[in-house]
């Protein structure tokens, strides 16, 4: 009952015309930028982050959330029509693109939009019930728990996003080291500034994000461009009633899977899509046809994608630990706005929290009733050739970097991270865990130092405290699993 009351309170905020407008702008701009080739949610959010600086607090967070799910929808549209996935909609490429090849682009886009709506609605209730409860539980967390939870997050994210523990971990560690640049809060010593005074306050988040995900991504796309889609522009959106009925069970299965996986450390949309797709392959009535371009293959993963995107806000807002790179960027945006996500956020800013939760559902409605019917116009973005687009994206990267501090020197730092990010990508290192390391690094150091101070330098505190001990146990299991997998692969290839 209290939850419903809180939700009503939230809708009051979200439906204020100003917030409604920010939500609509966020969704629309997010979709448009997300559609652009080579720009996934991470790049889209970092590109558009500067737009929110001058907005009021709740408006800016609502707009950012809108940008996030708009970008996700845009991403799945480009996956379905062009088979151009970013990290976030790999699964939509399989059946979605197969449907495009069959000339059913419109149906696939409607299915994705409508399933996202179902996923978002289910996740809304999970979010409203679970986030406050988890926030209460998180009050029991001390420095030791935070330290081990962050480490668990690193391991899970490394594993999920890159599929290779070593590569992902390397990126997390580099991110942590980059987070060390600047003045140490405890001693006042300037660390790793390499004699540059502009680094005294640390490296700007926007420079890293735009460099590694904006500039590096478009440089990579320049190497292999000219991708022609069989998509003709002809589009029939509305499904028949029998098709419509087929969407729902699949979307519901996906919503549940997505809601659960969105909560896990390292979880989030990507892993949820794969899980939902696998579930559909096992339990769907049409399981034998999945992969050939049928509705179920699109519906389940789209619902899971959306649901996980929503529930992944839960650990961020209730514990204060982002569990995937996109949430790390969101956390940074919260902090820029003076809000520290964590157990105290919901009690201290109930209007902000419930307003944001309600606005997510409003955003879902926008996506369904605005973007789905208008998608044929959005798709004209694809008609712009890449050689026109990419100077424009570069320009937006420059403006975005510059307007953080009105400092032209920041552009050099962005350029440096562009080259670094491109090098990482060419070395087959996915830079997205770097973002998580960068945001969580300072928090990890602070908590590790504090935990060791309290235990007088005794490391056993991380194992003897029960919650922390469980986290350490999971990390150990993951490491052992990876070693066993590597060893068996070796022995098999030698046999």
């Amino acid at each position: 009952m209290e939850t419903l009351h809180n939700l009503a309170f939230g809708f009051e905020h979200a439906l204020a015309w100003q917030n409604l407008m920010f939500c609509a702008i966020g969704c629309t701009v997010g979709t448009l930028v997300g559609l652009l080739p080579g720009l996934g949610p991470l790049a889209t959010i970092s590109l558009l982050l500067p737009l929110t600086y001058s907005l009021p607090l709740d408006g800016s967070l609502i707009m950012l959330a809108g940008i996030y799910y708009g970008a996700q929808y845009g991403d799945s549209v480009s996956a379905i029509t062009m088979k151009m996935p970013h990290a976030s909609s790999i699964v939509a490429c399989i059946d979605g693109y197969a449907m495009t090849l069959k000339g059913q682009t419109g149906l696939a886009l409607f299915t994705a939009g409508f399933s996202s709506f179902i996923g978002g609605t289910v996740a809304l209730f999970v979010l409203a019930v679970l986030a406050p409860a988890l926030g209460d539980a998180a009050l029991m967390f001390g420095p030791a728990e935070y330290t081990t939870l962050v480490m668990l997050g690193f391991f899970c994210v490394s594993f999920v996003t890159t599929g290779n523990l070593l590569n992902g971990l390397a990126m997390c560690l580099i991110g942590v080291l980059l987070g060390q640049v600047g003045t140490d809060v405890n001693s006042g010593l300037a660390r790793f500034t390499f004699g540059l005074h502009s680094l005294d306050d640390g490296i700007g988040l926007v420079s890293i994000a735009l460099g590694c995900f904006g500039i590096a991504e478009i440089t990579k796309n320049l190497d292999n461009r000219e991708h022609r889609s069989p998509f003709t522009g002809a589009i029939k959106l509305m499904p028949s009633w029998s098709e419509f009925k087929r969407i729902i069970p699949s979307a519901l299965r996906g919503s549940v899977a997505g809601s659960v996986l969105g909560l896990m450390p390292g979880g989030g949309p990507v892993i949820a899509q794969f899980a939902a797709y696998a579930i559909d392959k096992k339990f769907s009535k049409y399981r034998d046809e999945i992969g050939t371009g049928i509705l179920e293959g699109v519906a389940g993963q789209a619902a899971a994608d959306e649901a996980a995107a929503r529930t992944s806000f839960i650990p961020l807002m209730s514990i204060g630990i982002p569990e995937n790179p996109v949430m790390a960027l969101m956390m940074a945006a919260f902090i820029i706005k003076g809000i520290q996500p964590g157990p105290n956020m919901i009690p201290e800013h109930p209007d902000l929290f419930w307003g944001l939760v309600a606005s997510m559902w409003v955003g879902n409605c926008f996506l369904l009733f605005l973007n789905v019917p208008l998608v044929r116009y959005w798709l004209s973005v694809f008609k712009i050739p890449y050689r026109v687009l990419f100077p424009a994206i570069l320009f937006f990267c420059c403006i975005g970097t510059f307007s953080v501090n009105n400092n032209l020197n920041d552009i050099y730092i962005t350029a440096f991270f562009g080259v670094l990010g491109y090098t990482f990508m060419r070395l087959q290192l996915d830079p997205s865990p770097l973002m998580l390391g960068f945001i969580l690094g300072p928090m990890l150091e602070e908590n590790l130092r504090r935990a060791l101070l309290l235990s007088h330098g005794d490391f056993s505190v991380f194992v003897t405290r029960p919650i922390s001990g469980v986290f350490v146990g999971i990390v150990a299991l993951l490491i052992v699993w990876q070693l066993v997998k590597f060893a068996t692969k070796q022995s098999r290839s030698h046999a």
């Binding site: 001058s54 405890n186 010593l189 660390r191 440089t219 420059c398 032209l408 562009g418 090098t423 290192l429």
Partner: protein, 141 residues
């Protein structure tokens, strides 16, 4: 070494670990109960060093694959960003945008002066709109 991406990856990781690890040695380390500013970075860069070494070792067991790296595209993109920043400081941002477009466009042939001028004109108009609507401090003139 350029024809062995996995080895190169390990070497790069070791390099980055040293860039951070060596200076960290010069900061006060402290002890475990009272960690100094050098302790944590030293710890993290040592871990990264281990990951780098493990990557080098693993590269001996997997099949070699070459690494592609387009120096030309990277150079042009880098050049266009630097040109934008330098010219925006010395002259104004309008010239910076024109330089950015003309330099970057070379990475995507065929090169067309007229198209570049059109792109630059649109971007300058967008910058002007940003300046007016969002209050960004862009020195366009």
């Amino acid at each position: 070494m350029l024809n062995n991406r996995d080895l190169l990856r390990g070497v790069c990781l070791i390099g980055i670990a040293l860039v951070f690890g060596v200076p960290a040695l010069q900061y006060p380390i402290g002890d475990l109960a009272r960690a100094g500013p050098g302790m944590f970075p030293l710890f993290v860069s040592s871990l990264l060093l281990l990951v780098g070494i493990a990557t080098v070792i693993r590269s001996r067991f997997v099949e070699r694959s070459p690494m592609t790296f387009s120096v030309k595209n990277v150079g042009l993109i880098l050049g266009s960003l630097v040109a934008f920043a330098v010219l925006s400081r010395l002259v104004n941002m309008t010239l910076g945008i024109i330089a950015l477009v003309f330099c970057a466009a070379a990475a995507a042939p065929p090169y067309s002066v007229i198209r570049n001028l059109q792109i630059a004109a649109v971007l300058i108009a967008i910058a002007y709109a940003f300046q007016r609507l969002f209050g960004l401090e862009l020195n366009l003139y």
